[in-house]
């Protein structure tokens, strides 16, 4: 695996899985790149549905578990593929979750991968500690932290930023989702989640982390996710698509630059 990006947030429901899925699609648009998307949200795995892979099963072979492929160059793994029924609750305590995450990393036959994207559940707990620990031997390029503009989200995201510092995980930057809504009819902009304390922009300034970009609300995003389609492909003209593409490019540039720096050192 050449590059690993963790997608984190202290807060739930801010768009981590949405972003992970679109990052994967965006990177895989380059057919020369091999992309892997690993969903370690064991209680609420959203990636299978968002990638249009509900009902798919994981196959085992001599070389391990096979990821489920969306495209030839985009493979996905999630606990969602291991459930008998999509409504089955996975009611596991930490140790069992950690065990499965280890298996995902050790037993999945990813092959040669240019980008491994890891979607995480909200919080700073077993899953997060484990993924950082288990990947410590390999190299994590960094974390993308997702938030929405309101203080109730930011207060959890600041904790996540501190978690990254604590475990020495570099922060590629912060993405602010649901950042305003432009009415397609009258073009008026509304702040559905008002940034009462300055939003991600102020938080990033205060904590000296990069703001990768702000993505406006677009009802098509939720629809595409529900239908398992790539929003970038379904709504290429949306301002949200433009924002996402810019953010994805910045992440690519960060990864490539770090690779170059490492090669120089070596």
């Amino acid at each position: 695996v050449r590059h690993t990006v963790l997608v984190l947030s202290g807060k739930g429901g801010v768009g981590k899985s949405t972003f992970s899925a679109l990052l994967a699609h965006g990177l895989a648009a380059d057919e020369t790149k091999q992309v892997a998307l690993l969903d370690i949200d064991i209680c609420g795995p959203s990636i299978p549905k968002m990638m249009g892979l509900e009902g798919e099963q994981v196959h085992q072979s001599g070389s391990g578990w096979s990821p489920v492929y969306v495209e030839e160059n985009l493979g996905v793994m999630s606990v969602g593929f291991l459930l008998h029924s999509p409504d089955d609750a996975v009611i596991w305590r930490g140790p069992k979750k950690n065990g499965l995450i280890k298996q995902f990393l050790r037993d999945v036959d990813w092959g040669e991968v240019d980008y491994l994207i890891v979607d995480t559940p909200p919080g700073t707990s077993d899953e997060h500690l484990s993924i950082v620990q288990y990947l410590s031997a390999a190299h994590i390029d960094g974390a993308v932290i997702v938030t929405t503009p309101q203080e109730v989200s930011l207060q959890d995201v600041r904790k996540e930023i501190n978690f990254c510092h604590k475990v020495k995980l570099p922060i590629i930057g912060v993405v602010e989702n649901m950042s305003g809504f432009v009415c397609p009819k009258c073009k008026n902009e509304s702040q559905i989640f008002p940034p009462t304390t300055g939003g991600a922009e102020k938080m990033c300034q205060n904590l000296n982390v990069s703001l990768l970009g702000k993505v406006p609300l677009d009802p098509q995003i939720g629809k595409s996710c529900d239908r398992g389609q790539s929003f970038l492909a379904e709504a290429p003209e949306s301002p949200a698509t433009l924002s996402y593409r810019n953010i994805i490019q910045r992440i690519q540039e960060y990864c490539e630059q770090h690779h170059l720096e490492e090669e120089k050192i070596m």
Binding site: G10, K11, G12, G13, V14, I42, C43, G44, A89, V90, I91, W92, R93, G94, P95, K97, P121, P122, G123, T124, S125, D126, H128, L129, T148, E151, V152, S153, Q155, D156, R158, K159, E160, I161, N162, F163, K166, V167, G222, C225, D226
Partner: protein
């Protein structure tokens, strides 16, 4: 024998969702305020240890927890018939400190929140939970079993 600390609570209501960010904490705070407005004695127990939202939502983010003979005293919000709150948010040295705990440590604190807090006489104790179906949920339900668990309210959004 010492009175168990939820023994004076008439009804315990759990607010759950598999999904994050759908409005569990928002509902808990508004439900508590509405019940108190209707003359009920209310408490909120926030067992979201990684992302505790309740203190800020009740404007109590700068409050601290004090001890008494029967254990921890909940933080009281409001003058008239105050709402009793307990959250890890009140125990952090700095509000931005990440609580990076594995399951067993989280479980121990939840048990303490239920058994070692002097909740007193309440009509309703509302329990706010984190998203998911994991350690916090298992431990909370187990620790609440001996008490008057009315049931769960599940919160979602349309998608």
């Amino acid at each position: 024998a010492e009175r168990a600390s939820l023994a004076g609570v008439q009804h315990v209501v759990l607010v759950l969702s598999g999904k994050g960010g759908v409005g569990k904490s928002t509902l808990c705070s508004q439900l508590a305020l509405a019940l108190r407005g209707a003359g009920k004695r209310v408490g909120i127990l926030d067992v979201d240890l990684c992302g505790p939202s309740i203190p800020r939502m009740l404007r109590a983010q700068d409050s601290a927890v004090h001890q008494c003979d029967s254990g921890w005293l909940p933080v009281l919000v409001g003058q008239d018939q105050p709402i009793a709150l307990m959250s890890i948010g009140f125990l952090l040295e700095r509000p931005d400190d990440a609580v990076v705990w594995r399951g067993p440590k989280k479980n121990a604190l939840i048990k303490q929140f239920i058994n070692d807090v002097a909740w007193g006489e309440l009509d309703f104790l509302i329990v706010d939970t984190p998203p998911g179906t994991s350690d916090e949920h298992i431990s909370t339900v187990e620790a609440l079993r001996p008490f008057q668990l009315l049931g769960a309210v599940l919160v979602t959004t349309p998608q």
